[in-house]
């Protein structure tokens, strides 16, 4: 790119800033940006641009926004955009952002937030809309101009493309992770009406329902330890069975390991209610055979533990199978030649080598348990964990955002502690070679005792898992579980009926609305998630810049935030101006993006590690800039990772619940939330019919994609896709 081209790029962003200021609606409205409702009140009303509102609507405080973007033209016009002019450009654009922030934070729903502008400009109306398209465009353009200036100053070796990416990622995480968490922290110190009251924080924190024996924190930790232990133990037996015995079940287990990813996280709970609830099939059989009342044991700690163990064992299996396969067979052979019998080899070589992996699987199970929302919600009964008590603090009878915020902070703190622990475990001790099985020599067969124990545990458990998921599929075809087992299609008709009329098809089933909304938002979110994840991975793997370590910690922590915490933080941050986004499709898409970027980042890092860095350097020395290099070298080579990221982004958006349950509204209803609402209302038939349609749909998507791009290219990487929480 010649210097002249670079100036054009800078002017392009400047022009965009002016468009945001002069033309586009400065404020948002309830109809959404694409409805073009804003044209009715343009230019002076709430649909007007900043300039229009300032000149014709009396909102003079918007006028200074023009000054920095007018000044920014001066350094841009300079023939050589060097260090000094770059700094000037960055300073001008920073001024623009700063004034925008001051104006935005000065106005909330009720009017001015402080007295000076109130005296200057007079009181505002009672209902003030949040920032709209114009403000977002203006802010983004200003951000890019800051990056352009900093690049000219010499940041990131003067590479604007990289600086711009860095700016985008940092700003996104700043606004949609850090800012909401700060809002959550602040509301923990506020009264429900918004007044600052630090004593409230300590009152809330000291609540005996949180800390006492039987309180939510202890419940959460106990459940986490129990579920992580049982699922790790089961997964270890599975991994040993598939890797070290001639057992045929490898494919079955591989299939089982996909299930928790394509199924909404609460379906296991739903199936358990059908099997073992008060009217559950197993309870009925017991009652019929022994006259024994099964009762409600499934509601409470045992039921949630059982459901979580079922849900997380496949995830732990994916972690452990990699570890077991990665143990170099030569080490076991060496031990054998040193006169160790099979039992001693297993005890002294195999198990110790797998130990860091086992610890990792345990911590992953613990994190999943902390973040799990659906199963405790459906099966918990009076047994509450942090994730559900946050939800009930927001939607329950005694609604208190402060309490929800405090609980959210506690959950976040526990999560980050475990996350740090996990990274420590992995950083210091990995004995496993990456390349899978080493050449030559199969691995040791298991000692007989271990083999039979593993088989005796793994086979029944696998069968049970299959039965549970089978329940979901078949349960939808039964009139009423436990009471009337007549085969019927009525649940499917209620959910998915379609009537053919003169005007074409009419989707009259009750599930269609939420299904279409979910599909639409997931399709929007999937590519954004993949791109965002890969951008982050690229910056982490390929670039050195100031604050890289902080950036790494920030992005990885952001990806580990439990959905319920993110949900409550979004409610607290985005319910009021300046950013009024709750109950819009936009915030749902953003929450999908933030929640699901983690696997995208990891898949990107794994693939980038396999691509020789000198390919990009070769392209750079061949006159291609970093933008051209990314487009022509990296994107073609990363295609499998990109596709994997998109598929994962789509599937996990379709099946996630914990964050979005806070963000939906009757207008923007999602499948998972709708199913949980059905189940909570006791309409199990339709709920299960809907859930099984989701599972089959996701299965079709995954197999379809694998078929389209062919096993040959994705076989190795599909593991990366599916390794949800590694």
């Amino acid at each position: 790119m010649s210097p002249a081209n670079r100036r054009i790029v800078g002017f392009g962003w400047l022009a965009l800033a002016w468009i945001g200021f002069v033309l586009l609606p400065w404020q948002g409205d309830d109809a959404g940006i694409l409805a073009f409702d804003w044209t009715k009140t343009w230019p002076s009303g709430t649909g007007g641009s900043a300039l229009g509102q300032a000149l014709f609507g009396g909102r003079y405080w918007l006028l200074p926004l023009a000054l920095p973007i007018a000044l920014a033209a001066i350094p841009l016009r300079h023939p050589q955009l060097g260090r000094a002019t770059g700094l000037a450009l960055a300073a001008c654009s920073l001024l623009a952002l700063a004034w925008l922030a001051v104006v935005a934070l000065s106005i909330d729903l009720r009017g001015w937030t402080w007295s000076v502008p109130q005296e200057l400009f007079g009181p505002l109306s009672r209902r003030n809309p949040g920032l709209g398209l114009g403000a977002f465009v203006y802010a983004f353009a200003a951000l890019m101009l800051i990056c352009r200036g900093l690049a000219a100053y010499g940041v990131c070796d003067g590479d604007f493309f990289v600086t711009g990416m860095l700016g985008t990622v940092v700003a996104t995480i700043g606004i949609f992770v850090v800012y909401p968490l700060v809002c959550m922290g602040v509301s923990a110190f506020q009264t429900p009406r918004g007044a600052f009251a630090p004593e409230m924080f300590f009152q809330r924190l000291a609540n005996p329902r949180i800390w006492a024996p039987g309180g939510v924190v202890l419940n959460t930790l106990l459940l986490g330890i129990a579920s992580a232990t049982s699922s790790t133990f089961l997964a270890l037996t599975f991994a040993l069975v598939t890797d070290r015995t001639a057992f045929f079940g490898r494919r079955v287990l591989r299939f089982l390991s996909i299930l928790p990813i394509i199924a909404p996280p609460f379906v296991v709970g739903l199936a358990l209610i059908l099997l073992m609830g008060r009217n559950g099939a197993i309870n009925k059989i017991l009652e019929w055979a022994f006259g024994f009342e099964g009762g409600r044991w499934i509601y409470g700690f045992p039921g949630v533990w059982f459901a979580q163990t079922l849900s997380f064992t496949p995830v732990a299996y994916l972690v452990l199978i990699g570890v077991i396969q990665g143990i170099n067979p030569a080490l076991e052979e060496a031990a054998q030649t040193l006169r160790a019998g099979p039992g001693r080899v297993f005890r002294t070589v195999t198990l110790p080598l797998a130990l860091p992996g086992i610890a990792n699987a345990f911590l992953i199970g613990f994190i999943e348990s902390l973040a799990d929302f659906g199963n405790p919600l459906l099966l918990g009964g009076d047994f509450q964990v942090l994730a559900t008590s946050i939800y009930f603090a927001i939607v329950g009878a005694r609604q208190d955002r402060g309490v929800a915020a405090v609980l959210g902070l506690i959950l976040l703190a526990i999560m980050i502690a475990v996350f740090v622990l996990q990274r420590r475990t992995l950083a210091n001790k990995t004995f496993v070679t990456i390349a899978g099985k080493g050449q030559g020599g199969g691995s040791m067969p298991l000692p007989a005792g271990v083999r039979w124990t593993c088989l005796a545990i793994a086979i029944p458990w696998a069968a049970l898992t299959l039965v549970i998921y089978g329940m979901i599929v078949f349960g939808g075809f039964v009139e009423n579980w436990g009471l009337n087992h007549t085969v019927t299609l009525k649940h499917y008709i209620a959910a998915f009926s379609v009537i053919s009329t003169d005007h074409g098809l009419r989707f009259t089933g009750q599930a269609w609305d939420s299904l279409f909304t979910t599909l639409k938002l997931s399709l929007i979110a999937a590519p954004l998630t993949a791109v965002f994840g890969l951008m982050t991975a690229y910056l982490l793997a390929r670039r050195r810049f100031f604050g890289r370590t902080a950036f790494e910690i920030g992005t990885l922590t952001a990806a580990a935030i439990p959905g319920t915490v993110l949900g409550i933080a979004y409610i607290l941050a985005f319910n009021n101006p300046p950013l009024e986004l709750v109950q819009t499709g936009l915030i749902v898409v953003i929450s999908f993006m933030v929640r699901n970027m983690g696997p995208g980042v990891r898949a990107g890092l794994a693939t980038l590690a396999q691509i020789d860095r000198s390919l990009e350097e070769a392209s750079l020395t061949l006159r291609s800039g970093s933008f051209g290099t990314v487009c022509r070298i990296l994107i073609p080579l990363l295609r499998p990772a990109i596709l994997a990221g998109i598929v994962y982004g789509f599937v996990s958006a379709m099946t996630s619940i914990s964050a979005v349950i806070f963000l939906v509204s009757p207008g923007v209803m999602l499948s998972t939330v709708y199913i949980v609402n059905l189940a909570e209302a006791g309409t199990y038939g339709v709920a299960i019919a809907y859930a099984s349609v989701l599972i089959v749909l996701m299965l079709a998507v995954i197999t379809g994609i694998q078929f389209l791009i062919g096993e040959r290219r994705l076989r190795r990487r599909s593991v990366v896709v599916l390794a949800k929480a590694t």
Binding site: D157, S619, T621, L622, R623
Partner: protein, 355 residues
């Protein structure tokens, strides 16, 4: 004409630091147009860092880098008139040979047909005509290497950079490709900078060699100068396993010095040696050994003797220390334990300041 007087590359006190680690420590040199200059040194000496600084893949922490007299210190690799042959070749695996070679031309704004025509010509030049539509994975190592060279020279860069280009070839092919590169460079009059850790390779291809050690230039000069007159113990050791032993300085002249080595007295050329303790670097092939005692020779006893076909290797213990000797005229091997007499051919000896 003033254009041609300017050096192709000039480093002015260039330093590169990664935090506290100094990769390149205030290095200055010039590279004349049309010459092939080798950066030679052990791993970690800063030679590859220096090459990457020329390419613009890393930026200098201090100093100035000039290419054809233009200051490019702050220009990115994309904007510098250089191209590079990578150690791993870095051929784009998803592009055919032709598209690989045309890549740089298209990036520079050439139209595709024109770029591909020029790429074809260059492929023919390196002897790969007919393989245009292959993928890199379908070529042998030597062919891949030539594609990498073709991709670099098609841009007619001011400087062509080679980063250990032979290290991925087997020993047999290495000498052949080495000669090909040298031939191509001389035929096209290219300016080239060549990084290697192999002193034989460096001696074979270079007009001039810059030996680096610990981020600094240890010595630079023509291959013959470096081999014959090493400036210090490091160079003497690195350029072909010279024996370095202590000696006594008898008389110091302007260019020659009289040196006493055991009971042998020698007159040797020297570079900037001051009065004081000295050492002598002795090439292993500059020592003759005979299995009888001679008055004016250094007596010793054979400790180790290995027969290697075209030559024999000995280690002989003497009063100045154990000496490693290569005997190219061996008819029969002298046995271990034999008393021998050592005499020296002065052209294989150099006086060094004592370290």
């Amino acid at each position: 004409m003033t254009q041609t007087q300017l050096p192709a590359v000039e480093f002015r006190a260039v330093a590169k630091r990664y935090g506290p680690i100094v990769a390149v420590d205030s290095v200055s040199f010039t590279i004349e147009k049309g010459t092939l200059v080798t950066l030679l040194g052990p791993s970690g000496c800063g030679k590859t860092s220096t090459l990457r600084l020329i390419a613009g893949l890393d930026r200098a922490t201090e100093g100035a880098i000039l290419i054809n007299g233009v200051d490019v210190t702050h220009l990115s690799a994309t904007d510098r008139d250089v191209s590079m042959v990578f150690q791993s070749y870095a051929l784009f695996p998803h592009m055919t040979v032709l598209r690989n070679v045309a890549y740089g031309l298209i990036s520079s704004g050439k139209r595709r047909p024109e770029a591909e025509e020029q790429a074809r010509e260059t492929l023919t030049l390196v002897g790969l005509g007919g393989l245009e539509d292959r993928l890199p994975s379908e070529l042998s190592g030597g062919q891949q290497q030539r594609v990498a060279v073709a991709r670099a020279i098609v841009l007619e860069p001011a400087v062509l950079l080679f980063d250990e280009p032979l290290s991925n070839l087997d020993a047999r092919l290495r000498r052949h490709v080495r000669d090909e590169i040298r031939d191509l460079q001389q035929r096209l009059g290219l300016t080239a900078v060549y990084v290697t850790h192999d002193q034989v390779e460096a001696l074979a291809v270079s007009d001039r060699i810059i030996v680096m050690d610990q981020g600094r230039i240890a010595q630079q000069g023509s291959p013959v100068e470096l081999y014959r007159q090493p400036a210090n113990r490091f160079i003497a050791g690195f350029m072909g396993e010279a024996n370095v032993v202590a000696a006594r300085l008898e008389r110091l002249g302007a260019v020659e010095a009289r040196v006493q080595l055991g009971n042998v007295s020698l007159t040797l050329p020297h570079r900037d040696v001051a009065n004081g303790p000295i050492e002598v670097a002795i090439r292993p092939e500059a020592i003759r050994l005979e299995a009888r005692s001679i008055n004016s020779a250094l007596p010793g006893r054979v400790l180790r003797a290995v027969f290697l076909g075209d030559h024999a290797e000995y280690t002989v213990s003497t009063e100045v220390g154990d000496l490693f000797i290569i005997d190219r005229l061996a008819d029969n091997l002298i046995e271990i334990g034999t008393d021998v007499a050592l005499s020296f051919s002065p052209s294989g000896l150099a006086v060094l300041p004592s370290a």
